[in-house]
Amino acid sequence: MSKFFDAIACKGLPARDIRNSNIVNMWALAWVTTLALTAFLSRYEWYSSTFPTMIGFVVHSGIGLAMFFAYKRFLRELDEMERKIQLDALASSVGMAVIGFSAYSILAKAGYVPELEPSYLIVLIALTYIAGVIIGRIRYQ
């Protein structure tokens, strides 16, 4: 069990990697917050007009781009074994998303399950990515 908790805590990473990781986490938190905020505001009629929608689109996309560049920098400067773990996890999450999305769409077209929402895809990618990182860290312990 301690192996599992060590894998989550990413103990022993150089300070540079922890700092870069915290920057990515802050951008990710801001990105999720703007997504939740726009979903919440879309319930109000005034928000459906062009100007507030465009503001929401630009802010959410801008923060998303900042998160993307922060993650690229994090990967570039990352400890090399941790980078391999992260890239393996990314490959798994993309693979699972493509396979899961296509399989789900067959069921959705047949009417067995509701139509796929983008949020399902984001959750699937995030969960498989987190699982991939934890499994990778345990494998190399």
Binding site: K11, G12, L13, P14, D17, D79, E80, M81, E82, K84, R137, R139, Y140, Q141
Partner: protein
């Protein structure tokens, strides 16, 4: 790939954390290399070679 990292580190009485600090990698990376679970990149292998002042082939050996 086999390596003599653990022996060389022990000869100098260094901890994994100290070696990791010298090579600017995580302690987990040193541990995985010593156990043969992870093969270092060429730049890291050269860094190890410079640190121990030994040719790479005396530190890392191919399994084959």
């Amino acid at each position: 790939m086999k390596n003599r990292l653990k022996i060389l580190r022990a000869e100098r009485d260094w901890t994994q954390a100290q070696l990791a600090h010298e090579l600017e990698v995580s302690r987990q990376t040193i541990n995985a290399i010593e156990k043969g679970k992870f093969d270092p990149s060429l730049p890291l292998a050269f860094k190890v070679s410079r640190l121990f002042k030994m040719p790479i082939e005396e530190i890392f050996q191919d399994d084959a």
